[in-house]
Amino acid sequence: MNNIAFTKLGWPVEFVAKGSCCTKSRIAGIKDTAARIRLEGDTLFVLDETMVPKKVSYIPIKNYIEAARAIKQMKTRAFGQVLVCVYALLLTARKNAGKPHREFLKSLAESAKAIEDSRPTFPFNQLTGMVLGWAQAAAKKKGPIAPAIERNIEGFVFGIKAKKLERAKKVAKLIKKSCTILTHCNTSGELVTAAQIARQAKKKLKFIATETRPYMQGSRLTAWELKEAGFDVTLIADNAVADVMSKGMVDIVIVGSDRSNKSGDIINKVGTYQIALCAKEFNIPFYAMTQQPGKDKFDKTTYMEVRPEEELLEFNGKRFAPKGVKGYYPSFDITAANLITETIRL
């Protein structure tokens, strides 16, 4: 990591050194599950997470509008949406290459806004602000903007993957020699990476994954990823968390997070808060993987994305709830720092 400078937010600015230790963003023997995203020419191919595990298929995305739609519809989420955000801005940059700076920056800002508005709870503005900052810096130097953005995004993506690997190593260290880990939602493969590192260190692991209604990240993504990597994983309904904890079936809890703040509070998929309460009740360590913390305070007034009620009341387009019943689908909840044993920061 010696040759990467970091912005105030902790993102790598420019990666210029090749052949350094930082070119390694993988550990031998660690298998990746399906790549969330790949860029081929001017098309972004994004893993459709709503189809996994029935089908591993990719959605072609050619512009920021399609990117924002994919994010809004949760075709991609978590780390996948981070990559879609930055690469969508890269596509805008390439389309506007050669245009006058003012026009270029306006188009980029429009793209940024569309992505920020796609899922308001996620701090897309940290990512878009970073890319717009690169663009403005290049414009100030009166140089071409698109190549500057391209270069910096390449460095950013490489750097973030390296940081995630470092975080996975720290998570692996938390895992004891023999351990059953309860997890909620999906961490875009990072928990699997941590588990593989732990397994290489001869640790014996089992997993309990909550299904994570209504989107079913646990059933569809987490259980699939862990099984693909050869781990023992048991699926439970979200309502069985206290039961398994009370029976001594869980050693630790590890979750991801969508946002965190300097106080150590996190925002993560709804259901996380009640898992943390149960973990506290049964004296089970609760760990959260976090990112660069924001300055915001989290409390009852903090805005939380509320998804359309149909996503709760229907399944695969078919309504199962009785007519006349309303639905309420808050996507996230807040877990205060006092419920978290330790955060493992990116």
Binding site: I236, N239, V325
Partner: protein, 152 residues
Amino acid sequence: MKSILIYGVPSKEYYSDVKDKIFYVAELRPDLAGAKIAANQLIKSDADVTLVSDNMIGFLMYKGLIEEAHVFYHKLEYANAVCRTGSMIAAICAKNNNIRLDLYPAAEIEKKAKSGGVLYFNKELVGLKNNKTYEPQYENLALDYASGIHQG
């Protein structure tokens, strides 16, 4: 109007006093008895009903959307009530958010959920067909969590 969380499937008698209240009903995976039976009965009794998934209970309480939690028991034993799995979560959340939790009689014991139920949603396969599952339908809820116990 008082807002109440419903966890479990109430007995017939419960539905006689549901007007002027707002009900948040936990769907009760994997068989969705909360959605298909409890919510259905409440709607037929002209109640105001909002369905939530079982993982939203803590958030509802944290946000102040719930004033009381009503959990339904199938059997009362010495120091415990046999309730639908997830009742413990409701109780722990209620305790941490200073919300009153009352126990009421449940509808007669339903048939045991078919094994593999959590792999399916409304009879559609969700994840991997051969994934291991753990699906306790009931759990013992310590009576200490309850502020009130209503007999049948």
